[in-house]
Amino acid sequence: MDLFEYQGKSLFARVGVPVPQGRLATSPTFAGTAANELGGTVVVKAQVQVGGRGKAGGIKVADSPNAAEAAASEILGMDIKGHTVHSVWVEQASDIAAEYYASFTLDRSAKKHLAMVSAQGGVDIEGVAESDPDAVVKLHIDPVVGLADWQARELVYRARLEPTASRKAAAALKKLYEAFVSLDCDLVEVNPLILTGGGDIVALDAKVSLDANAFYRHPDFGEFEAAFPRDPIEAMAMEADLNFIKLDGDVGIIGNGAGLVMSTLDVVDLVGGRAANFLDVGGGAGADTITSALEVLTQDASVRSVLINIFGGITRCDLVAEGIIEALGRLDLPWPIVVRLDGTNATEGRAILAASSDERLVAAATMREAAEKAVEYAGGSG
């Protein structure tokens, strides 16, 4: 789960990584007040869960409360790569002597933690990594041992950060790593991590992604999630514990297992259609889950036909069929529903559907046939 910058910085502060003073504002007036309280020059920064906001004009320097208010009114409501800006972070401007890059993440192929540090932070770090790979120092960390002191020093010296700041930089890396592990982050990235004119190391940005599987260890993380803007259909799906992503086609998709659902989208595309969504009911879905999934699709006006593709393992096809029948009776479902059932209790499931005389139900024997029929009902190849 990707955090807003201000949320990430609150976690940095928790482990003792220096961050500038700042305030969150959801209106230009509040931004002006925040600038007044902070005093001096401030930076007004769009809070969005996506990178590239600087280039998009989502970061502005303001030298007075009035200027901060004006900057906020420009930034609030802005669209940055499909993300609407609902809040800005107003923080004291920093005295920047150098801009570094630092990150901790999991390297899947090495199966170890990976630290990356560069003296050329601030700008296009992916470009730096590509044109001058040596400028980004990489070091693997054994998750059993953790980041050793000598490794933190090695990162600082090999990346050629300012020598007079090496102790503070190594200490900051240790703290960022502590945040990465103790707060169960998938990613901790600071770009830029700055050296101030006074010789301090400060995190000027924070890209933190949390591991949702570890939330049981961090009950306070729920409040981060509560601050995220949520599409009403996605919110409804989340409430029902369904994994739902809105897409731009007209064939509604329901399936079990992320791999099978992704594959269903691919086959729909292959036969000339476009999926309206990705909806994974997960393993062991009962009748209620299927009913809820169909209910979620009723909220999407672009859906013109629905394809239910189930291969039962833990999931039982008879329960899936019961859920469909229940939904047909209880909800106003305006589209044809093509159903493909295989695996655990598929025979029982197909019998339940065959016993219904509902004209909206269309049985399909294979995944390919199901995709073809669903695309045809949605209005044919496009």
């Binding site: 990178g51 059993v144 099978l260 292959l270 695996g343 995944m367």
Partner: protein
């Protein structure tokens, strides 16, 4: 021969007395798997349908010579359970549990590779099936039939889909292995490809991948250097929307890898048959076996 599990498998289930452990543990036994023990701390000394329950894995191994463990322990306790099994000399741990924190997985993987010779399959995997011999996990065994094609997949339900396509055409399987889709799988495509290549009862390999990570690209490199048997592959997620990733770290590591197209290109360039339709897996295998 089959790989990883067969008639010599002596299965222990961590969490056998729980709902899922019981349902799948005994479904595995009904299939013919030799289920020898259950482990539930606090319930040692009892038995469940004739299977003795122990407090610790070490005790169970001593008493029953169990060599394979299947874990249904909930996420907060799963990492501990896997390490216990490894420390007790279990050869293969199959971790079905879904939702283990990534940092726990990374610690467990490095701990067991450094301190034991235990192989971990999963976590968050459907387990494995050697048709006609043994079933350890949650795969519905009725869709499989004994034969000479090895199947390996990151996705549970797509494994079933692939096996189903083969069986419908009368093509049997030597072993079907679900490696799981978590960030730190204990067993990778490369590990399983090596086992199938060495297996005298496997003639061809079906490999099902999906977007994300670079395990499929690594598999392609391995196939080029080491695999002489025909490989049929399918990668899910060609039309999946690009993830809303905000950091640069992932992009720097992957360097353009990870998309379905990159994976398909990598596999195609080393001679694998690459399909864009999973329903053609059966006919494609038929073609390479001819």
């Amino acid at each position: 021969m089959a790989i990883l599990i067969d008639e010599s498998t002596r299965l222990l289930v961590q969490g056998l007395t729980g709902n899922e452990g019981q349902f799948h543990g005994f479904r595995n036994r009904d299939y013919g798997t030799n289920l020898v023990a259950g482990v539930t701390p606090g319930k040692g000394g009892t038995d469940l349908n004739g299977v003795p329950i122990f407090n610790t894995v070490a005790e169970a191994v001593e008493a029953t010579a169990a060599n394979t463990a299947m874990t249904f322990v909930p996420p907060p306790f799963a990492a501990d359970a896997i390490m216990e099994a490894a420390a007790s000399g279990i050869e293969l741990v199959v971790a079905i549990t879904e939702g283990i924190p990534a940092h726990d997985e990374a610690r467990v993987y490095n701990y067991i590779t450094q301190t034991s010779s235990t192989r971990l399959l999963g976590p968050n995997c459907p387990g494995l099936l050697s048709p006609g011999k043994a079933n350890v996990g949650i795969m519905p065994p009725e869709i499989a039939m004994p034969g000479r094609v090895g199947v390996v997949s990151r996705s549970g339900t797509l494994t079933y889909q692939a096996v189903h396509e083969l069986t419908m055409l009368g093509i049997g399987q030597s072993s079907c292995i679900g490696i799981g889709g978590d960030p730190v799988p204990g067993t990778s495509f490369v590990d399983v490809l090596a086992l199938f290549q060495a297996d005298g009862e496997t003639d061809a390999i079906v490999m099902i991948g999906e977007i994300g990570g670079n395990a499929e690209e690594q598999a392609a490199d391995f196939i080029e250097a080491n695999v002489t048997k025909p490989v049929v592959s399918y990668i899910a997620g060609v039309t999946a929307p690009p993830g809303k990733k905000m950091g640069h770290a992932g992009a720097i590591i992957s360097g353009g890898k990870g998309t379905a197209q990159a994976k398909m290109d990598a596999l195609g360039s080393v001679g694998a048959t690459v399909l864009d339709d999973p329903t053609e897996i059966g006919t494609a295998v038929q073609a390479v076996l001819r």
